[in-house]
């Protein structure tokens, strides 16, 4: 991609001029250190949220009480949702991998606003800590679900306000990250790196940044309005005070549906990054994939009310939002078709990152197709607020974004830490995670179709078998995650040293040492080619 030799020098973990110890990390404005900081913080929240998820599944192993009472169960699914969404999957790929990689991928020494970048991490930490503190405060953890629907969120006596404030602060962190990334991409690309020589992960971060900036303030203001309603009894959303609860749902989903694309777009970018490397093929339809990110960001911001088909919207509104929902599947499908076309006649190397990507594509497709079913008005009436939605959501979010995150972790691990992990345990972890994931979430489609409502503590005996398969799946998945984490921790300590470019990739981050030096490049590289030029592996008539 560029005309530079491998950049060497003291890596960013051992930079002599950096502050020592913990202060060298928590006050560092280096984008790589901030990326790692996000990664570590996020892993803590993710672990807690996984444990809560496992407890939810354990409770549902049998009808009636299994391990906890109904109130605890309500707080469990609320916390699981808030932590997974606001503290893990929204910041996941952009904040960890985006921070670490974006500047290097575009040939820059750092992001455009390094201090603002550090501030976003501090805000993230503050929001996360507040969410955790809300558990211990008198009143008990919030029990509203992560959606904070009114009027219940105005009336419940649990700690809704700290949870709302946590989400509010986390929103600022997200806005600042989006702002930083957009500015960095506009201002700091290396000479020769025009828009269509940018890696596709960068394109996805750009599209994500726009959603973060434009949509996040809306949820911020909405949550603040709920807080005002609770504090001062102003009738905004609560019908008893003359408010409109449907307006709350509109405002909530104006952000929270695009937020789904904040979560998934970088995941789609990761897939576009990894596929050409392990298929040894120039990516098929680069411009279409790049533009489809923008199209998903744009159309995805217009479909929010498909979460509300049963709340009494006007027929015209329902028809339009259903139509827009179908429209958003087009750019998503463009990506999937281009990925498959990239694999076609490739010299496929089924290494660990690619295995995760392949699982991701299949699961993302299942999530997408079931999304179309949910976007269909007639079907939606039947399965709204059932386990069908839970299944769909987890297939997109975990099966899609989560697996893309695992793929990214295995792909960029050697770059980030300068070590290689053992492949066999990594493959075992992938297999367990894929089997466990599908065992866990696929039965939910049946459960939902048969009428099992989401968030219910108890259920009828005929649903038992599906719940039990699902719970067993959660154990298999957890085992897979455990093997993955242990393998990566062992690799951190004992893994073989990684070369600068162990996968034979073509993007700029692989032209610097592993791990990268403090300011990435001694000299800003001059880019002369596109990011996925694998023409040396392709027969002449296949070269594009």
């Amino acid at each position: 991609m560029a005309t530079t030799a491998v950049e060497t020098g003291p890596d960013f973990y051992h930079e002599p001029s950096a502050r020592k110890g913990l202060r060298g990390w928590i006050f560092s404005t280096d984008h790589k250190r901030i990326g790692i900081l996000y990664g570590v913080t996020m892993m803590v929240f993710f672990t807690v949220a996984v444990i809560i998820g496992l407890l939810i599944r354990l409770e549902l192993l049998y009808p009636g009480k299994t391990i906890v009472d109904p109130q605890t169960y309500n707080t469990f699914f609320t916390l699981h949702g808030i932590m997974m969404i606001f503290l893990f999957i929204i910041p996941g790929l952009p904040a960890v991998f985006g921070n670490f990689l974006l500047p290097i991928m575009i040939g820059a020494k750092d992001v455009f606003f390094p201090r603002l970048n550090l501030l976003s991490w501090w805000l993230f930490l503050a929001g996360g800590v507040l969410a955790l503190v809300s558990l211990a405060l008198p009143g008990g953890p919030a029990d509203t679900g992560w959606t904070f629907y009114v009027p219940y969120s105005v009336r419940t006596t649990t700690n809704v306000l700290p949870a709302l404030m946590a989400a509010f602060i986390l929103g600022f962190s997200s806005i600042l990250t989006g702002l930083n990334f957009i500015t960095t991409i506009h201002r700091m690309r290396a000479p020769g790196m025009d828009w269509f020589r940018m890696p596709l992960f960068t394109w996805s971060l750009y599209a994500t940044g726009w959603i973060q900036i434009l949509a996040t303030p809306i949820i911020g203001i909405t949550l603040l309005l709920v807080a005002i309603e609770r504090w001062f009894g102003v009738g905004i959303f609560d019908p008893a005070l003359g408010g409109d609860p449907v307006l709350y749902q509109h405002l909530f989903w104006i952000y929270s549906h695009p937020a789904v694309y904040i979560m998934v777009l970088p995941g789609l970018g990761v897939v576009s990054e990894i596929l050409p490397v392990f298929a040894r093929r120039t990516i098929f339809g680069y411009k279409f994939i790049a533009y489809s990110s923008l199209a998903i960001a744009f159309i995805g911001s217009l479909v929010w009310a498909h979460h509300m088909f049963t709340v009494g919207m006007s027929d015209t509104g329902m028809f339009i939002f259903s139509f827009l929902t179908f429209l958003v599947s087009i750019p998503s499908a463009i990506k999937v078709f281009n990925w498959i076309a990239t694999l076609y006649k490739g010299s496929i190397d089924p290494d660990v990152p690619l295995l995760y990507v392949l699982s991701m594509i299949v699961q993302f497709c299942i999530g997408g197709f079931t999304g179309l079913l949910l976007g269909t008005l007639a079907v939606n009436i039947h399965v709204q607020d059932t386990y069908f939605v839970v299944g769909h959501f987890h297939y997109v979010m975990f099966g899609g974004t989560g697996f893309a995150l695992f793929a990214a972790l295995h792909y960029w691990f050697p770059k980030m830490f300068g070590r290689m992990y053992a492949k066999r345990p990594a493959i075992v972890a992938w297999l367990l995670a894929t089997i466990g994931f599908n065992l866990l979430y696929f039965p939910m489609f049946f459960l939902g179709y048969l009428g099992m409502p989401r968030r219910y503590y108890d259920y009828l005996p005929e649903y038992t078998i599906y719940h039990q398969i699902s719970t067993v799946g959660s154990w298999v998945l957890a085992l897979g995650l455990l093997v993955m984490v242990v393998n990566l921790i062992v690799a951190l300590r004992k893994g073989a040293k990684a070369s600068a470019n162990p996968w034979g990739s073509k993007t700029l981050e692989w032209t610097v040492a592993s791990p990268p030096p403090m300011e990435n490049f001694h000299e800003i590289p001059v880019v002369t080619k596109g990011p996925y030029d694998y023409s040396e592996y392709e027969r002449p008539h296949e070269t594009k």
Binding site: H186, R187, R189, I213, S301, L302, I320, F321
Partner: protein, 100 residues
């Protein structure tokens, strides 16, 4: 650096104190008009009038105090994108509310 996106290196535009004061007085006058109009029953035009005055005021603030008028065209595009997004959200919301 991408040269297409570079900020133009023209000398920074300086707005005189006189102009700032003039704009500020204009904003105060518009606020006065808003308050005065609130006391008059304009029927269905109440909201429209208030919104038009507010739009004029925010245009002045954006252009003069926030320097948008003197910035690179890209920044103006960014503001247009944000406003267009807001307008689209309003229109789509009204597909629900207007057809109840």
């Amino acid at each position: 650096m991408d040269h297409n996106d570079q900020h133009s290196h023209d000398a920074p535009h300086v707005v005189s104190y006189g102009q700032y004061v003039l704009i500020w007085l204009g904003l105060l006058a518009l606020t006065g008009i808003t308050v005065a109009l609130a006391g008059i029953d304009l029927g269905r035009w109440v909201i429209v009038t208030a919104l038009v005055i507010a739009a004029i005021k925010s245009t002045l603030v954006l252009n003069i105090f926030m320097h948008l008028k003197f910035e690179h065209r890209m920044f103006r595009w960014f503001v247009v994108i944000a406003l267009a997004t807001l307008a689209i959200f309003f229109i789509l919301l009204f597909f629900d509310y207007a057809f109840h």
